[in-house]
C-alpha cells in the first residue's frame, strides 16, 4: 500500500520563493539548475516535518525572506509554508492524530501551515517575530513535536558521508533496522555471556600471559616501591546493546567492509538501508510467541494463524512469503487495529542520489525506487540518467523567472496514455535532456535538427550557450511535448513544415470526393492550404492555448501571426524546398555541390539532379536526394555549407523568438 505523501506545497516569501503553489506526486524528482533553490524547497518542508531540526532551526530571520522584500521585519511581512498530505486515510494512527488538520475529504487531505510572523500588541505595534505551525484551518490547533512522531521527513543531504553513517554506531541505519525488530533481551544476554566466556580464553594463551608479565615488570620498575601493583588483563565487556551495533555489512565473496567499497556502492547500500528502515511496518514480519497467542484470540485472528508459521526454535512466528495482495490488505487492517506499535510515516528526500554512481547503476536503482517503492520519495537531481527514467508525472521543475524561483510540476498532467508512453520512451532515449533546457526548440525531423543549430550560429547565437535544447520529435505530433513544456513552464518554440497541398474536388458516382494533393508547387492565384497550419491550429486549440475563434479560417496572414505568437513557426513546403526557393541561383549551386559530395552514383546521376533543379522542379530534386542520399545525411553535410540566405524566414523567426523567451526570463 502506498504511503502518505506531500500532495501540495505553497511557499510565500521564503528564500528563493516569492510565491509558489505546486502539486506533487507520491514520487518526486526535483530538477533545476544550481542555486535555483532545490535545497530550500526541501528546507521549507523540513521546517514543518523534520524531527532533527531544533526550535532554533525553525526560528527564521530577516535573511530568510525573499530578496525582493525590503526590511521585512520592520514592515511586518510574513513567511508562510503550507503542506498538504494525501493518501493517509488507510492509516488509522494518522487519521486519529490529525483529525484537526483535515481540509478536504475528497480526496482526504490534511494540511499543516508554518508561519513566521510578527507578534503585535493591542495597538498593532510589532513586539517581535515568532513562528507557529498549525494544523488544518484553525490556527489554534498547533502542530507539535509529537505530531512529527507520526509523520516526518528524512533528508539525506548532498554532502553526506555514507561511510561514517554506515560504520558501527548508533546512527547507522543497519543498527536502527536491527533495533526495530525488537529482539528478545534474554537471547541477547545469553549470546553476550557466551562471547564473554569465549573471550576469557584469550587470557589463557601463553603469549598473553607473557605480555602481562612484561607489563607488570615494567610497571614495577617505573613505580618503585609502590605496593598493590597487581595488574590483570581482561577482554572488554560485551554489553548487549553494543552487540547489535557491531553488526556490519560486508559485501562480495571476499566480504569486504564498507570502508573498502567504492563510494558509489556505499551510497547504494546506504539508500537501500534507509528505504528498508522507512517501509511501512504495520504488518510485522516476525511475531513473538506471546503476541501471537494474544492476536489469534482477536476477531479475525485466524488471519494470523494462517499466515505466520512457527520457526525451528518455537520462539517466534514468521510471516509466510508470497502472500496475495488481498490477504496483505486484510493483514494490514488487522494489525492496524490490534498491534499498537507507533508507526511513524517517513517521507524520504535524497539530494543528488546520483553522487558517485555510474550511469547504469543510477538508472537501475532509480527505476526501482521510483516505480516500485511504497514509501514516498523525493529526489533532487542534476542527473539526466535519473530524469530519463522518472515517470512523466513526477517531475518538479524549479526555474528562475525575473528574480524569483518558480516551481512547476507535472503532477496533474492529463495526457493521452499512448502519447505518455511515447513521450516517456523519448525522454528515456534522449536522457531526459528536455528537462534541462532553459528553452526548448521542437523540430519535426533530423533535417531541422542539423540545420537549426547552424542557422542560429549564422544569426549570431550558439543555442547551447544560452541553454536552448533542440528536440527532434520525429513526427508532427508535437502535442504531448508542448503539453509537458507548458506544464513545467519551460519556454518553447516549434518549427514545422507547411506541407502545402492543393484541394481537388471531383464527383464520383454523384458524390463529392475531396483529395489533398501534396508535393505540388503553388501557382499565383490558387488558394493556399497548409497541413502544418491545420495541425498546429488544432493543437493549440486542443491544449487551450487559443480558442477556435482566435484563428480566422480565411485569413492566412492572421493564422500565421496567431501561431507564431503561440510559438509555432510554420513553413511553406518543407525545409528543403523552402530553402531551394530562398537560395536563388547561388543556392542551387550549393545544393548541387552537396549532392555531388554525397551521391553514390556517377556524373549521370549528378546531371539528372542538376537538370531538375535548374528546371525549378524542386520536388523532383528532393525525391532524388531522398532516394539516393537520405534527407538526414544531406542535411548533415548541407549544414556546413549553410549561409543565412538559405534559412527560411519562419526558421529565423523561431530562433529569434526562442532566444528572446530564454533571455527574457533570465534577466
Amino acid at each position: 500500500m502506498n504511503s502518505p505523501y506531500i500532495s501540495r506545497v505553497q511557499i510565500n516569501n521564503f528564500r528563493n520563493f516569492k510565491e509558489i503553489d505546486v502539486n506533487l506526486n507520491h514520487k518526486q524528482v526535483i530538477i533545476g539548475e544550481n542555486n535555483v533553490g532545490k535545497t530550500n524547497f526541501l528546507r521549507a518542508i523540513q521546517l514543518i516535518l523534520d524531527q532533527s531540526l531544533s526550535d532554533i532551526d525553525r526560528e527564521l530571520g530577516a535573511s530568510d525572506f525573499h530578496d525582493s522584500i525590503e526590511n521585512p521585519l520592520e514592515n511586518g511581512e510574513e513567511i508562510k509554508i503550507v503542506l498538504e498530505i494525501q493518501n493517509y486515510e488507510h492509516n488509522r494512527q494518522l487519521v486519529a492524530q490529525f483529525q484537526d488538520a483535515i481540509v478536504s475529504i475528497n480526496p482526504a487531505t490534511i494540511r499543516f501551515t508554518y508561519k513566521y510572523f510578527p507578534l503585535k500588541d493591542e495597538n498593532g505595534d510589532i513586539l517581535r517575530y515568532q513562528y507557529q505551525i498549525f494544523k488544518g484551518v484553525n490556527e489554534d490547533k498547533f502542530f507539535r513535536s509529537d505530531d512529527r512522531n507520526y509523520l516526518n521527513i528524512k533528508v539525506i543531504g548532498a554532502l553526506r558521508d555514507v561511510e561514517r553513517e554506515l560504520s558501527a554506531n548508533k546512527r547507522s541505519p543497519l543498527f536502527k533496522l536491527v533495533k526495530q525488530s525488537d529482539i528478545d533481551q534474554d537471547e541477547l544476554d545469553e549470546i553476550s555471556q557466551a562471547m564473554q566466556d569465549a573471550a576469557e580464553d584469550i587470557l589463557k594463551l601463553d603469549e598473553i600471559k607473557d605480555i602481562k608479565k612484561l607489563i607488570e615488570n615494567k610497571f614495577i620498575t617505573l613505580s618503585g616501591l609502590q605496593h598493590d601493583n597487581n595488574l590483570s588483563l581482561r577482554p572488554y565487556e560485551v554489553d548487549t546493546e553494543r552487540l547489535l551495533y557491531t553488526i556490519q555489512v560486508y559485501m562480495g565473496l571476499k566480504e569486504r567492509p564498507v570502508s573498502e567499497l567504492s563510494l558509489g556502492l556505499a551510497n547504494i547500500l546506504y539508500v537501500a538501508l534507509m528505504m528498508l528502515l522507512l517501509r511501512d511496518k504495520t504488518v510485522p514480519r516476525i511475531l513473538k510467541n506471546e503476541l501471537y497467542n494474544k492476536l489469534i484470540t482477536k476477531t479475525n485472528g485466524d488471519l494470523v494463524s494462517s499466515n505466520y508459521t512457527v520457526n525451528e526454535n518455537g520462539k517466534n512466528y514468521i510471516q509466510r512469503e508470497n502472500i496475495g495482495i488481498d490477504i496483505q490488505n486484510q493483514l494490514y487492517n488487522f494489525f492496524d487495529q490490534h498491534n499498537h506499535q507507533l508507526q511513524s510515516v517517513t517521507i524520504l528526500a535524497v539530494e543528488e542520489p546520483e553522487s558517485h554512481l555510474h550511469p547504469v547503476l543510477q538508472r537501475l536503482i532509480y527505476r526501482e525506487v521510483l516505480h516500485k517503492s511504497e514509501s514516498s520519495v523525493i529526489f533532487t537531481t542534476h542527473s539526466p540518467y535519473i530524469t530519463a527514467v522518472a515517470p512523466l508525472d513526477t517531475i518538479v521543475h524549479c526555474r528562475y523567472d525575473k528574480g524569483e524561483t518558480k516551481v512547476f510540476s507535472t503532477a496533474n498532467l492529463a495526457m493521452d496514455p499512448m502519447d505518455k508512453t511515447d513521450l516517456e520512451r523519448y525522454l528515456d532515449a534522449k536522457r531526459g535532456e528536455i528537462y534541462f533546457g532553459k528553452g526548448v526548440l521542437l523540430v519535426e525531423g533530423i533535417t531541422e535538427e542539423y540545420i537549426v543549430t547552424r542557422a542560429a550560429e549564422l544569426q549570431g547565437t550558439h543555442l547551447d550557450d544560452i541553454g536552448v535544447v533542440i528536440c527532434n520529435v520525429n513526427s508532427t505530433n508535437f502535442k504531448p511535448y508542448v503539453q509537458l513544456l507548458e506544464k513545467l513552464s519551460i519556454p518553447w518554440c516549434l518549427i514545422t513544415d507547411g506541407d502545402y497541398y492543393q484541394l481537388e474536388k471531383e464527383y464520383v458516382d454523384g458524390k463529392e470526393k475531396i483529395t489533398r494533393n501534396y508535393h505540388q508547387m503553388w501557382q499565383d492565384g490558387e488558394p493556399k492550404h497548409f497541413k502544418g497550419i491545420d495541425l498546429m491550429s488544432q493543437m493549440i486549440v486542443d491544449l487551450g492555448l487559443a480558442s477556435q475563434d482566435d484563428i480566422p479560417e480565411d485569413n492566412l496572414q492572421q493564422q500565421y501571426k496567431i501561431l507564431e505568437s503561440k510559438g509555432c513557426f510554420v513553413g511553406f513546403y518543407t525545409f528543403e524546398i523552402d530553402s531551394m526557393i530562398n537560395g536563388g541561383q547561388l543556392g542551387k549551386n550549393t545544393f548541387k555541390t552537396v549532392y555531388s559530395e554525397l551521391r553514390p552514383g556517377g556524373l549521370k546521376q549528378q546531371k539528372n539532379f542538376d537538370d531538375v533543379l535548374d528546371a525549378d522542379n524542386f520536388w523532383a530534386a528532393l525525391t532524388k536526394i531522398e532516394d539516393n542520399i537520405s534527407k538526414g545525411r544531406f542535411a548533415q553535410r548541407f549544414a556546413s555549407h549553410l549561409t543565412i540566405d538559405f534559412v527560411p524566414a519562419y526558421m529565423q523567426n523561431a530562433i529569434v523568438e526562442i532566444i528572446r523567451k530564454v533571455t527574457a526570463t533570465h534577466e
Partner: protein, 614 residues
C-alpha cells in the same frame, strides 16, 4: 493503575456478573440495578482498556449524562491513578458532539449548516423562537409547552432504531417549524447539536473512520438518560464501524422522559443480538427490605426484578410514615427538629442522610429551615447552573486553596481559550504576559476569605462579565454568574468560606438536600422523602393510569427509595393551599399511592406517626 485499582479489581472478581462485564471484549450492555456497583465496573474497565487495548493516538471515549456525573466519573478514574491526556474524551454527550464532530468537521461538510464559529442559542432566543412557533400555529403555551416541544425535537431524529414513541402530529409540525427557525437564526442549541452530530455520523463515512481511529471503545454511563439521538448514534457506530460499545444503564431508573429519554432505547439495545447483555443483580447498598419495598413501588407486573442484598444481608429495613396537618413547612420542621436529631442520636452521620423533595424551590425552603436550625447541609441542585465557567471558577478556587489540587497550566489554558473564543483584546498579549496577569489575579484573590469576596474580586479583575457579554459560546453565562453571585450574597453561600465553593460537589459531613430527580446516583443510610401526597406525587392532573408518564413517576419513586441503605422516611400533609384565580384554595390530600404500597408491606401502628407525636 495503582494499589486501589488492584484492590477493587479483586473485589469485582468475586461477583461473576461484574467480572464478566469487566472482561467483555465485545459490544456489551450492562443492565445495572441500584447499588450493583456499575460505576466501579465501568471505571475499572476504563482503566484496563487504557492500559492494554487503547494506545495513542487512539483514546478512550467515556460519555455520561451530566457534568455532575462526569465529574464523579473523573474523580473515580483519578482514584485509580488515571492521568488525563489529550487523546481521551471523558465528558457529556454535548461535549463529545461539539469537540469531536461539529468543530472538526463543520467546515468540511457545509451542508449541515453548523455555524462557524460555533454560536449557541441563548435561552432568550429559544424563548423567542418558541413564541414565534406558537404564534405561527396560532396556539398558546397551554397547548404546547417548551418542554414538550423540546422533547419532540429530541425524538424527531429518524435513524435505524425500531422504537416507536407515540407522537402527536401537531407537536411534530411545531418541532419542524422550530428547527427551521433555529437554523435561520444561525445558532445551534443543545438539542440540535446532538441531532446534527448524529446525522453527520450516519451520513459521512470519513467521520466514522475518524471516530473509529480515535476511539476503539465507547463507554457510556446512564444510557437510559441519554435520549434518542445518542441511541441512534450508538446503533450507527455499531452497524457501520468496528468501534466497541460498552453501555451501562437501567431501564428502571429512567426518569427523564420529559426530555425524551425513554427506557425503550436501552431496552432495544439490550435485545440486540450483536450486544452481549449482562444483568447486575447483586445489590451492595441496601438491605433486602429496602430492595423489596422499592420494587413494590416500581411495578406490580411480572417479571419482578430479582435483586438480592449482598452487603447488608441480615439487616431489617426500617420505614417511618409521618402525617403532617397542613402545608410543606411542618414537613421541613419535622425533618429538622425531630428526624435529624433522632438519626444523629442513633449514630448516623449527616453525610448519611438524604432529603428528597419535589422541586428546586422546595430544596431552597428545606435548606432554609436547616440553616435556621444550624444543621449543615449540602445542595445538589442550585439556582445557578454548574456551567463550564462555574466549574472552572471552582477549580481556580481549589488551586487558590491548595495549588496541588489543580494544574495552573490547565486553568490558564482554559482562560486563554476564552480570550480567543471571545475575541478579547488580551488574546493579543504575549503568552507570558497573559500568564503573569492571570497568575497575579489568582494569587491576589487568595486573600479573599468568603466566596462572595473571592468571586467578586476574580470576576472584576479578569473582567469576566465584559468578556462574556454577547458571548456566542456561552450566551447565558452572565445571567448564570449573576445567579451565582446572588447565591453568595444573599442565600445559601452567604458568608461561607471559599472552601465551600471550591468543593461544591463534595459534601463534607453535611446533610444532602436534593430534588428526587437529582438524587440519582447518590446513596444514604437514611432517605427522607417529602411531599408524599397523591395528586402531587405522582402528579395526576391529565395523567392517565398506566401511561408513560405514570410509569415514570413510579420509577422516580423507586429511584428515591432505593437510595436508602437501611431506612426510609415518608412524609405527607393532609392539606395544601393552592393558589387559584379566585384566591387561595385549601385542598384536602391523601397519602400517595407509593405510601400505600410501602405501608401495605411495612406499615403498622409502631411506625405511623402524626407530626406532633413523632
Amino acid at each position: 493503575m495503582n494499589k486501589r485499582f488492584y484492590i477493587d479489581q479483586d473485589l469485582i472478581r468475586t461477583d461473576a456478573s461484574q467480572w464478566e462485564a469487566y472482561n467483555s471484549e465485545v459490544n456489551t450492555v450492562v443492565i445495572a440495578g441500584p447499588g450493583s456497583g456499575k460505576t466501579r465496573v465501568l471505571t475499572l474497565k476504563a482503566i484496563k482498556l487504557l492500559q492494554s487495548d487503547i494506545h495513542a493516538p487512539s483514546g478512550l471515549a467515556c460519555i455520561s449524562y451530566s457534568r455532575e456525573t462526569v465529574r464523579e466519573l473523573k474523580k473515580r478514574l483519578k482514584e485509580y491513578g488515571y492521568k488525563s491526556n489529550k487523546y481521551d474524551f471523558i465528558g457529556t454527550m454535548h461535549g463529545f458532539c461539539l469537540i469531536h464532530i461539529l468543530q472538526p468537521f463543520a467546515h468540511i461538510f457545509r451542508q449541515y449548516k453548523v455555524p462557524i464559529p460555533m454560536k449557541i442559542a441563548s435561552l432568550d432566543l429559544i424563548e423567542q423562537i418558541y413564541n414565534s412557533v406558537l404564534y405561527d400555529l396560532n396556539i398558546d403555551s397551554s397547548n404546547l409547552s417548551l418542554m414538550a416541544l423540546n422533547r419532540q425535537r429530541s425524538l424527531s431524529y429518524v435513524g435505524i432504531s425500531d422504537v416507536e414513541i407515540q407522537v402527536d402530529l401537531f407537536e411534530i409540525q411545531a418541532a419542524e417549524l422550530f428547527e427551521s427557525k433555529l437554523e435561520m437564526s444561525g445558532c445551534v442549541d443543545f438539542i440540535s447539536i446532538i441531532n446534527i452530530a448524529t446525522q453527520m455520523i450516519r451520513e459521512q463515512n470519513y467521520i466514522r473512520k475518524t471516530l473509529e481511529a480515535k476511539f476503539p471503545w465507547f463507554l457510556i454511563d446512564e444510557y437510559q438518560d441519554l435520549g434518542k439521538a445518542l441511541h441512534e448514534m450508538v446503533l450507527e457506530l455499531q452497524a457501520q464501524t468496528e468501534i466497541k460499545i460498552f453501555a451501562v444503564g437501567d431501564m428502571n431508573q429512567s426518569i427523564y422522559g420529559f426530555n425524551g429519554a425513554y427506557p425503550d432505547f436501552l431496552q432495544e439495545l439490550n435485545s440486540k443480538d450483536n450486544f452481549k447483555s449482562i444483568p447486575l443483580t447483586s445489590n451492595y447498598r441496601s438491605n433486602q427490605g429496602i430492595i423489596e419495598g422499592s420494587i413494590d413501588i416500581l411495578t406490580s407486573e411480572p417479571p419482578r426484578p430479582l435483586y438480592s442484598a449482598k452487603k447488608r444481608v441480615n439487616e431489617e429495613a426500617e420505614f417511618t410514615f409521618i402525617l403532617c396537618k397542613a402545608e410543606m413547612q411542618p414537613q421541613y420542621d419535622v425533618v429538622a427538629n425531630k428526624i435529624i436529631p433522632k438519626l444523629k442520636a442513633k449514630g448516623i452521620s449527616y453525610s448519611e442522610i438524604g432529603i428528597l423533595v419535589a422541586s428546586s424551590n422546595d430544596v431552597v425552603q428545606m435548606a432554609t429551615t436547616l440553616k435556621d436550625n444550624d444543621i449543615p447541609f449540602y445542595i445538589v441542585k442550585w439556582d445557578f447552573t454548574n456551567s463550564d465557567i462555574v466549574f472552572w471558577l471552582q477549580e481556580c478556587a481549589q488551586w487558590c486553596l491548595n495549588s496541588n489540587l489543580q494544574s495552573f497550566d490547565e486553568l490558564f489554558r482554559y482562560w486563554q481559550l476564552q480570550l480567543k473564543v471571545h475575541n478579547d483584546k488580551r488574546a493579543f498579549w504575549e503568552i507570558f504576559r497573559q500568564r503573569v496577569f492571570f497568575h497575579g489575579v489568582l494569587i491576589e484573590s487568595k486573600s479573599k476569605s468568603t466566596v462572595f469576596e473571592w468571586l467578586e474580586f476574580v470576576l472584576l479583575e479578569l473582567d469576566l462579565k465584559e468578556l462574556l457579554k454577547n458571548s456566542e459560546r456561552y450566551p447565558d453565562e452572565n445571567d448564570n454568574l449573576n445567579a451565582l453571585l446572588n447565591e453568595t450574597l444573599m442565600k445559601n453561600l452567604k458568608d461561607v468560606p471559599l472552601k465551600r465553593f471550591a468543593f461544591l460537589g463534595e459534601p463534607e459531613n453535611e446533610i444532602t438536600v436534593t430534588t428526587r430527580h437529582s438524587a440519582k446516583g447518590l446513596e444514604f443510610e437514611a432517605v427522607i422523602m417529602l411531599g408524599m401526597e397523591e395528586e402531587r406525587f405522582p402528579y395526576t392532573y391529565k395523567v392517565e393510569e398506566g401511561s408513560r408518564q405514570m410509569k415514570e413517576a413510579h420509577r422516580l419513586c423507586y429511584v428515591g427509595v432505593s437510595r436508602a441503605k437501611r431506612e426510609c422516611f415518608l412524609i405527607c400533609s393532609k392539606k395544601h393551599t393552592i393558589p387559584t384565580k379566585r384566591g387561595p384554595w385549601i385542598k384536602d390530600f391523601q397519602p400517595s399511592r407509593f405510601w400505600h404500597l410501602l405501608y401495605s408491606r411495612f406499615g403498622n401502628a409502631e411506625n405511623l406517626f402524626l407530626e406532633e407525636n413523632y
